[in-house]
């Protein structure tokens, strides 16, 4: 059951549906009765340079006619690379990329998901392999169109002492899922998974993560923040698995969302599956409206209601992007948040 299998075979019966436990809030089978034709090769020049232009050494593109990419960062090197996924028209794109980071190297990967106003269907599979001691910082910004459907699945396997830091920011799509699965077979691996979703209109975004600790002394820190308005729907599914013998694992997961309109919806499932006893694992999940007392305080100080709300919302979500280490990438996400706030005003 996956979008990529359905695109591969053209069989809509392979699309995941709400009957599949992991897709209960992101139904694709009920949404897509037919699949659009495959995207043809076209020039990407008309698409401009992408949100991370000027910050990177090299840019890889996944689009019609360029469905695969691979990247290998050799030992002892630091690289900053952009990966653009471009979806357009009423077409289907099934793309994949393999990324390997050798021991002692560092990769900063800036991903952007760019789509037009068409009813496209895009599936992206990313495979990350981190050798012992390798470091990866992944920053992804999803700017899909309101009628697009996107599923991006990243699978990362970490060697001992490797570090995986990720920040996802999305404004959603007609239906969108950004999924991350991280395996820690090695000892002392370190994972940071952050995410932000800011949804309006009828948009939908699903941030799903699975972290599996198999080695000792692993650490996971996870924080996702979301704001939904209008009839939008935000979904968070976080799963932390600690296998037998993965002692001294420390895992913390947080998901916090603001529901700002009566017809908006947030669904969350933060899971802990623990098979070892020498662990410290916790998760917290809160969903609610803006704090009336804080609004009252700001109104008392003469701030107009709209400004006060924007300030509170911006402060609420910004925490999730503070972990971005690359200054340029963080600035891009900050600007994206600021723009989203402007629109909502």
């Amino acid at each position: 059951m996956s979008l990529s299998a359905a695109l591969e075979t053209g069989d809509v019966g392979l699309l995941p549906s709400r009957r599949d436990e992991d897709w209960r809030w992101t139904d694709l089978r009920g949404l897509l009765r037919v699949l659009p034709p495959r995207a043809l090769k076209a020039s990407v020049a008309t698409w401009g340079e992408g949100p991370f232009a000027g910050l990177v050494d090299e840019t890889l593109v996944l689009a019609g006619g360029a469905e695969t990419a691979s990247l290998h960062v050799p030992e002892g090197v630091t690289q900053t690379i952009a990966l653009r996924v471009i979806s357009r028209g009423d077409t289907a794109l099934q793309a994949s990329a393999t990324i390997r980071v050798d021991a002692g190297s560092k990769l900063v990967l800036m991903e952007s998901y760019e789509g037009d106003a068409g009813a496209y269907v895009t599936s992206v599979d990313l495979n990350f392999e981190l050798e012992p001691g390798a470091r990866l910082e992944r920053v992804a910004l999803a700017m899909d169109g309101a009628d697009g459907v996107l599923v991006s699945k990243a699978v990362a396997v970490l060697g001992g002492g490797a570090t995986f830091t990720q920040t996802l920011a999305t404004s959603g799509a007609r239906r969108q899922r950004l999924e991350t699965s991280v395996d820690h077979p090695g000892a002392g691996a370190n994972v940071h998974l952050n995410g932000v979703y800011l949804l309006t209109g009828k948009r939908h975004a699903d941030l799903t993560t699975t972290v599996r600790h198999m080695g000792v002394d692993g650490q996971t820190r996870q924080l996702t923040k979301g704001v939904v308005r209008d009839q939008a729907r935000g979904v968070f599914q976080g799963r932390i698995i600690v296998e037998e013998g993965a002692d001294r694992t420390e895992a913390r997961m947080g998901h916090h969302a603001l529901v700002l309109s009566d017809k908006a919806e947030v669904d969350a499932k933060p899971e802990l599956l623990i098979h070892a006893d020498d662990v410290q694992c916790a998760h917290g999940n809160t969903i609610g409206a803006l704090d009336e007392e804080a609004l009252f305080y700001m109104a008392q100080r003469g701030l107009p209601d709209g400004v006060a709300r924007t300030l509170l919302v911006a402060a609420f979500v910004s925490e999730a992007i503070e972990g971005v280490q690359h200054d340029g990438a963080r600035a891009v996400l900050e600007a994206w948040i600021a723009k989203a706030m402007e629109v909502s005003l």
């Binding site: 529901v259 669904d267 623990i274 998760h283 917290g284 999940n285 969903i287």
Partner: protein, 489 residues
């Protein structure tokens, strides 16, 4: 020295599952297996009216078309539904008119279990001590219900389900199956077809039930399943506290217990429902035997400002699949769920609650404490949801898991669905093991390791224990200790 004696008793009690004996009574069985005829047999045995039989047969038809659920984090061999007895009752000529007519073997069984079936026994001891009325269900029938007269004097109906179907058909017709519909889920549907006995409680408007009501379920016959059905209705402004306990003999086979409990709460009424579940958990080494406890419990807070509180101590059963839920329909209604789930040996538990907020200003609170030891698996699975009309809904959830030993599993799977902008849902969960520092401290002060673990575990579950009525709290505390026997050292 009372405290010392208490400890000695407790340690002695740690030996094993002490309710694992079998009572030798002559029993009446339905033919083995499940068919429309089995259902007709049960219905005829219970002298049920035609509408009840039709209801059962319809449920059976639906059940045939359903599939067993497989989403829970439990695994067990496939159940052969044709290899079990669906009705087993101690043989009597007529229904026992008084306690004197009850088979002395059965009376001895309950005496052994410490359940007072004689009203005067309850009164023995200190004057003014709390009393509770008991409905004792032995396999498929209720053998005795105490204090019925006294309860009837204030208008409270407390009787076996089969009697309620005969004596109060209007109430049963009005409420049965309205909280848990026949085809709600696979096991509830099976129960609707073959349910045998259980308790029926009706508390009229404005009445505060003068004593605790309780039912004690006992599976005795081999190769039989127990399918009890309980229906409790608290009319406007009424209050009732209901307790439920259960045990079974030790056997190598798995026995199925698929119950349905329905609670209906009208305006300003309150039901407090407490369970101490101690079915035989199976052999801790081989995992052989034990009860499959697949239970559907749900409360419907239909009235404004109605309230339901579920408290459960789950220590037994080989496999538990149970989610006592609250449908918070009435404005300002509230639901509470306090749970201790302990698994040891090869036990598996997938348990939690559902709080479904439909009405405005509804509130719910979930406190769940899971303890896993041995090679067991313990999952909290819960849903909190708010409908668009549930303005001002609030939930607070706290799930803590404690791991004892390296081979057990503790899992937390909460589902949260917020569908309006004026609800506040908070959830927090932690998973840790017993702190070495605390253990060291307790042992330094002369406690053995086992005692130190008990002390810390009791502290861990205290928040839930204090929600239990007194008599049950004492039993539950002892159970916690027994369940964890052999888990350390």
């Amino acid at each position: 020295m009372a405290a010392v004696q208490n400890t000695v008793d407790q340690v002695e009690g740690l030996e094993k599952y002490e309710h694992g004996f079998v009572t030798d009574v002559e029993q009446d069985f339905a033919p083995k297996g499940l068919s429309a005829d089995t259902i007709r047999f049960i219905s005829a045995k219970k002298e049920e009216p035609d509408w009840m039989l039709a209801w059962r047969l319809e449920a059976y038809e639906r059940w045939l078309a359903m599939d067993e659920p497989n989403w829970a984090k439990v695994s067990f061999p496939k159940i052969d539904y044709q290899d079990s007895y669906y009705y087993a009752a101690p043989k009597t000529k007529e229904g026992p008119a008084s306690l004197e007519d009850v088979d002395p073997e059965i009376l001895a069984t309950y005496a052994k279990l410490g359940i007072p079936l004689r009203e005067q026994e309850v009164l023995a001891g200190v004057m003014g001590s709390p009393r509770y009325a008991v409905d004792a269900v032995f396999d498929s029938v209720s053998v005795v219900t105490t204090f019925k007269k006294e309860l009837a004097a204030v208008g409270v109906i407390f009787c076996p389900m089969s009697e309620a179907i005969r004596e109060h058909p209007e109430l049963v017709k009005k409420y049965l199956g309205t909280v848990v519909p026949t085809s709600d889920n696979y096991y509830a549907c099976l129960n609707s077809a073959v349910f045998s006995d259980g308790s029926f409680v009706y508390v009229p408007p404005g009445v505060r039930c003068p004593m605790e009501l309780s039912t004690y379920f006992r599976i005795n016959a081999a190769q039989s399943g127990q399918f009890e059905r309980t229906l409790i209705i608290a009319d406007k402004g009424a209050y009732v506290s209901y307790l439920e306990g259960c045990t079974a003999p030790m056997r190598d086979e798995n026995q199925l217990h698929a119950a349905v409990v329905e609670l209906v709460v009208l305006d300003d009424a309150e039901i407090k429902y407490s369970t101490v579940q101690n079915w035989y958990p199976g052999d801790p080494e081989t995992g052989k035997g034990g009860i499959f406890n697949f239970v559907t419990k749900r409360a419907d807070c239909r009235g404004d400002r109605s309230k339901v509180s579920w408290t459960q101590v789950e220590t037994g059963s080989a496999v538990t699949w149970k989610y006592p839920s609250c449908v918070l329909r009435g404005e300002g209604s509230s639901g509470e769920f306090y749970s201790i789930a302990i698994t040891n040996g090869r036990q598996q538990a997938d348990t939690g609650t559902k709080m479904i907020h439909l009405g405005a200003n509804t509130r719910s609170r979930i406190i769940s404490k899971g303890i896993s030891a041995g090679r067991s698996s313990n999952t909290y699975r819960g849903l909190v949801s708010a409908h668009p009309k549930a303005k001002g809904a609030r939930n607070f959830t706290q799930c803590d898991s404690l791991l004892i030993g390296k081979t057990s599993g503790a899992h937390t799977v909460p589902y949260v669905e917020a569908r309006n902008s004026a609800c506040v849902f908070e959830h927090e969960a932690t998973t840790t093991r017993l702190s070495d520092d605390q253990l060291f401290y307790a042992m330094q002060r002369g406690l053995t390791q086992e005692e130190a673990v008990q002390l810390l575990v009791n502290g861990f579950v205290k928040e839930v224990l204090q929600e239990l009525p007194m008599e049950f709290a004492v039993e539950a505390q002892k159970l916690v200790a027994i369940s964890l026997e052999g888990s350390v050292g």
